[in-house]
C-alpha cells in the first residue's frame, strides 16, 4: 500500500511542480506587462497589491471560463453554470484524438509532428462525405468518420513509408507535410465542389443533419458524442499497446529498434503501421471536430489542434490516460483563455506560454530537482534524443 501511494505521489510531484512554476512565471509576465501595474512602480505596496489582483483576476477568469461560472448559474440554475465545462470538453475532444496520434508515435519511437496535416485531411474527407451524399442517419455518420480516418491514414502512412523505405526523418517530412496540407485545404476550398454556393470566402457547405454527431446535453450545450468516441479510442489505444502483440511490437521498436530487429520484428512494417495508425487517430479527430461541433469545413478548421497535440502528448507522457487528462487540461486553458481575454485585459496567448513552460519543465526534471532541492524525484521514461540519423 505504502509503496504504491509513494509512487503516485512521486509521479504526480513533477507535473505539480511544473504547473506551479509555469503559472508563477506566466503570472510575472501578466503583471509586468500591465500598464496599470507598471505605473505604480514608485510605491511598492500598491504595486504589489495591484499586480497580485491583476494576476488573480486573470486566473479567476481562466477558471470561470473553463469549469464553472456562477454568473451563468445565477440566472439559469446550476446546470447552466457548467456551460464552460461543456465547452472545455468540446475543445478537448479533438485534442484527445490528436494527442493520441502523437503519443502512439512516441511509443514506437517516432516523433509525429504531422497531426496538424493528418487532422486537416480527416476533416476534408469527413466534410465531403457529410455534405455531398444523402444517406440514412447512422450509416452516414459512420461513412463520414471512416472516410476521415482512411484519408488521414494514407496521409500519415506516406510518412511511415518514406521513413521505412528511404530513411527520411519523420520530423522533417511531417513538418513539410503540414504545410502542404495547409495549402491543400486553402486550394480545395476554392474548388467548385467544396465552395459553398453563393459564397466567396473559403467555406464548404454544412454537413447534412444525418451526418452530424448527436448532442449529449440538449440543444443549449454544444457537447456532442465525439467525447465518447475520443474516450473509447483512448481505451482502445491503451488496449492495443498493452494487451496485444501488435502493441508489444510497437513498444519493442520504440524501446530499442536494433534489439527488436534482432528479435525478428520488422521495423519497417511497424514504422509504416504506426504512422498510418497515428494518421487515422488524428484524422478521426478532424472528422469528429467537423461532424460534432463545426459542421462546415473552413480553412482554419484545424486551428492549432495538431500542434497542441504535441504538448498534450508530452504532458501525458505518451500514455493514453495521461493524454486524455492533458487534453482536458489544455482544452480548459484554451476555453478559459477566451473568457479571460474578453473579461480582463489579459490576452488569450498567455495560455501558449503556460503550455510551453509546463512541457519544458516536465521535460527537464533535473531543473525541477535543482530548483526545489528534491533528491529523489520520480522521473520515468524521459523521451530520449535520437538525432536525425536515428
Amino acid at each position: 500500500m505504502r509503496k504504491s501511494s509513494d509512487r503516485i505521489l512521486g509521479s504526480a510531484l513533477l507535473p505539480a511542480l511544473s504547473f506551479l512554476l509555469a503559472f508563477s512565471i506566466s503570472g510575472f509576465v501578466i503583471a509586468l506587462s500591465d500598464s496599470k501595474v507598471l505605473k505604480l512602480v514608485g510605491s511598492p505596496g500598491k504595486f504589489l497589491s495591484t499586480a497580485l489582483s491583476t494576476v488573480g483576476n486573470a486566473y479567476l477568469a481562466l477558471f470561470q471560463g473553463s469549469i464553472y461560472d456562477p454568473n451563468l448559474a445565477r440566472g439559469h440554475g446550476f446546470f447552466q453554470g457548467l456551460y464552460p465545462l461543456s465547452e472545455t470538453i468540446v475543445t478537448a475532444t479533438p485534442l484527445i484524438l490528436t494527442g493520441l496520434a502523437v503519443a502512439l508515435a512516441f511509443q514506437s519511437g517516432l516523433f509525429n509532428i504531422g497531426a496538424q496535416g493528418q487532422f486537416i485531411f480527416g476533416a476534408i474527407a469527413a466534410s465531403y462525405v457529410g455534405f455531398h451524399f444523402t444517406l440514412t442517419p447512422v450509416f452516414h455518420v459512420l461513412l463520414a468518420v471512416l472516410a476521415g480516418i482512411a484519408s488521414a491514414a494514407v496521409w500519415g502512412g506516406i510518412v511511415g513509408l518514406l521513413k521505412a523505405k528511404t530513411g527520411a526523418h519523420e520530423v522533417i517530412v511531417t513538418i513539410m507535410m503540414n504545410y502542404i496540407a495547409g495549402f491543400f485545404i486553402l486550394w480545395i476550398l476554392k474548388t467548385t465542389t467544396f465552395l459553398r454556393h453563393g459564397r466567396i470566402d473559403p467555406i464548404a457547405p454544412e454537413v447534412s443533419q444525418s451526418a452530424q454527431l448527436p448532442h449529449l446535453a440538449g440543444p443549449n450545450f454544444r457537447l456532442h458524442a465525439g467525447i465518447l468516441i475520443a474516450l473509447a479510442t483512448a481505451a482502445l489505444v491503451w488496449w492495443l499497446l498493452n494487451r496485444t502483440t501488435i502493441g508489444f511490437r510497437f513498444r519493442a521498436v520504440g524501446a530499442n529498434a536494433a534489439a527488436a530487429k534482432t528479435a525478428g520484428i520488422s521495423v519497417a512494417t511497424v514504422t509504416i503501421a504506426t504512422m498510418a495508425l497515428c494518421g487515422a487517430l488524428a484524422g478521426l479527430g478532424g472528422a469528429v471536430h467537423v461532424l460534432g461541433s463545426e459542421y462546415a469545413l473552413t480553412a482554419d478548421i484545424a486551428g492549432s489542434f495538431g500542434f497542441d497535440a504535441i504538448t498534450v502528448a508530452l504532458l501525458g507522457r505518451a500514455r493514453p490516460l495521461g493524454t486524455v487528462f492533458a487534453a482536458l487540461l489544455f482544452g480548459a486553458l484554451r476555453t478559459g483563455g477566451r473568457t479571460m481575454q474578453a473579461n480582463t485585459t489579459t490576452p488569450l496567448d498567455i495560455v501558449l506560454v503556460i503550455q510551453a513552460l509546463i512541457v519544458l519543465f516536465i521535460a527537464a526534471p533535473t531543473l525541477i530537482r535543482y530548483i526545489f532541492r528534491i533528491k529523489n524525484l520520480k522521473t520515468q521514461d524521459a523521451m530520449k534524443s535520437k538525432g536525425w540519423n536515428g
Binding site: 509576465v29 518514406l162 522533417i172 513539410m176 507535410m177 486550394w187 510551453a356 531543473l367 536525425w388 540519423n389
Partner: protein
C-alpha cells in the same frame, strides 16, 4: 543500353535527376511548345531603377519562347547525361536544363503579359534574406551536433525585439543591435536545456517556438496594439546604393541596392562558409558534430564548444529576424515570421548541410515564393497554393533521397556526456 552498374551511387542519382529533367523538358515541349494556341507575346522587363541600360525589355512570342527554351532544357539534360557518362560533373547541364525549363514555363504562363524580371529577382532575394539567416543559424547548430528547430522562434524574437527597441528609441541602429541578442537569448535556453539538462532537442525546439509565439502574441496584444505610437511605430532602414556596383545592369539593383541587413547577410555567409572549412574553429565544430568522442579524446571540450556555437547561431538568426521589422516595414506584426524558420530548416536540409548549398536553397525557395506572387499578380491561372508547396515538396524529395541523398552530421541531436557509450 548503358550499364548502370559501372556508376557510383551518387552518379546514378545524378542520372536519375537528369532523366527527370529531360522528361519535364519533353513534357513542356509537347504541352506548351506545340499545342499552345496562343499567339500572344510575352514581355520580359529588365529595368528597375537607374542602372546602366543593357536591354530595356525583351519581347518573344509565347509559343516560340516555350519551344526554344524547352528544347534547350532537353539539350541541357542530355548533355548532362553525356557528362556523367564521361565521369564528369553534370552541373552545367543541370543548370542549363533548370533555367531553360523555368524560362519556357514563364514564356507560356505569361503569354500576353509583362514580367518584370529584374524586379522579380530582387523580390526573391528579399524573401530569401530571413531564410538565409535562419539556415546559417541551423547550419552552425547542426554541424556542431545540436538540432535547432527553434529557428522560427529565434527569428520571431529578433523581429519583435528589434521592432520594439527601434520604436522606443526611434533609432534603427539600436534595433539592429538588440535583435541578435534576442535570438541568442532563445539559444541560451536551447543550449542550457539541450546540453546541461539533456532534453530531447526536437521537443525542446518545438516548445521554444511555442513559447516565443505565445510571448510575442501576448505582448503584441497587451502593449503593441493599445500603445502603438510608443511601442510599435519604429523606423526602418533605407536602401544603401553601392556606387558603381548598383548601376550594373540586372545584377546591380538586385544585389547592390539593398539595406544594411542584406549586406550583413553577404558578410555572414562568407564568414561562415570560410571558417567552417578553413579554420581551427570550423574543424573542431565539424568534429564535435560528427564524432564527439574522437573530438573529446584530442582535448576538445565538446559541450562547451556546442554551447558557444548554439549561442552564435542565435545571434545570426536573431539578426535575421530584424529583417522583418527594421529591415522592411518597421512595425511588428503578430507571428510575422509565418513559418520562415521552418523553410530555413528545409533550405538547410535541401542544401545538404553546406553553407553554399543552404544559401542556394534559400535563394531558390525565395524565388519560388516570389514567382507565385508575381504570377498571381499578373493573373496566371495556376493555383498559387501549389506554387507555395514547392519548398516543402522539394525538401521531402531531398530527404527521401529521390534526388541525391542528404546525410545529417552523424552526432546531430545526440546528447554527449563523457564515458557514455553511444
Amino acid at each position: 543500353m548503358l550499364s548502370l552498374k559501372s556508376f557510383t551511387a551518387a552518379q546514378r542519382r545524378q542520372i536519375r535527376l537528369l532523366i527527370v529533367l529531360l522528361l519535364l523538358a519533353l513534357f513542356e515541349l509537347s504541352a506548351f511548345g506545340f499545342r499552345n494556341h496562343l499567339d500572344a507575346k510575352t514581355t520580359f522587363g529588365f529595368i528597375l531603377a537607374h542602372e546602366w541600360v543593357l536591354i530595356h525589355k525583351w519581347v518573344i512570342a509565347s509559343r516560340s519562347g516555350a519551344f526554344i527554351f524547352s528544347t534547350l532544357a532537353a539539350l541541357g539534360a542530355i548533355s548532362g547525361i553525356v557528362l556523367v557518362g564521361r565521369k564528369r560533373s553534370p552541373a552545367l547541364g543541370i543548370a542549363l536544363a533548370g533555367i531553360s525549363l523555368l524560362m519556357g514555363f514563364l514564356c507560356w504562363a505569361a503569354a500576353g503579359k509583362f514580367i518584370p524580371l529584374t524586379g522579380m529577382l530582387q523580390g526573391s532575394l528579399l524573401l530569401a534574406v530571413p531564410l538565409v539567416f535562419g539556415s546559417m543559424s541551423g547550419l552552425i547548430c547542426e554541424r556542431s551536433g545540436v538540432i535547432n528547430i527553434a529557428i522560427e522562434g529565434q527569428l520571431l524574437a529578433g523581429a519583435f525585439a528589434s521592432g520594439v527597441v527601434a520604436s522606443l528609441t526611434h533609432r534603427t541602429v539600436w534595433g539592429l543591435l538588440i535583435a541578435p541578442l534576442a535570438g541568442a537569448l532563445i539559444s541560451l535556453l536551447l543550449a542550457t536545456f539541450a546540453i546541461k539538462f539533456s532534453v530531447d532537442q526536437v521537443i525542446l525546439g518545438f516548445v521554444l517556438n511555442v513559447l516565443v509565439i505565445g510571448l510575442t502574441d501576448f505582448l503584441y496584444k497587451k502593449l503593441l496594439i493599445p500603445y502603438q505610437a510608443t511601442w510599435n511605430s519604429g523606423p526602418s532602414f533605407s536602401r544603401i546604393e553601392i556606387p558603381l556596383l548598383s548601376r550594373l545592369p540586372i545584377i546591380g539593383p538586385i544585389f547592390f541596392s539593398q539595406t544594411i541587413i542584406v549586406y550583413l547577410m553577404y558578410l555572414i555567409v562568407a564568414i561562415i562558409a570560410f571558417s567552417l572549412f578553413k579554420t581551427k574553429w570550423g574543424l573542431r565544430t565539424r568534429a564535435v558534430g560528427e564524432h564527439p568522442t574522437a573530438a573529446d579524446s584530442v582535448g576538445i571540450d565538446v559541450n562547451k564548444l556546442r554551447f558557444r556555437n548554439v549561442i552564435v547561431a542565435g545571434l545570426v538568426s536573431g539578426l535575421g529576424g530584424a529583417y522583418f521589422t527594421i529591415g522592411s516595414v518597421g512595425t511588428f506584426g503578430k507571428e510575422m515570421t509565418a513559418g520562415a524558420g521552418f523553410i530555413a530548416l528545409a533550405a538547410l536540409i535541401f542544401g545538404k548541410y553546406s553553407p553554399t548549398g543552404a544559401l542556394c536553397a534559400a535563394l531558390l525557395f525565395g524565388f519560388a515564393d516570389n514567382l507565385q506572387s508575381t504570377l498571381s499578380i499578373i493573373g496566371v491561372s495556376i493555383p498559387s497554393e501549389f506554387m507555395l508547396m514547392v519548398p516543402y515538396v522539394a525538401t521531402i524529395i531531398a530527404v527521401s533521397g529521390l534526388v541525391g541523398r542528404v546525410r545529417a552530421p552523424a552526432a546531430d541531436g545526440i546528447h554527449y556526456s563523457r564515458g557514455e557509450s553511444k
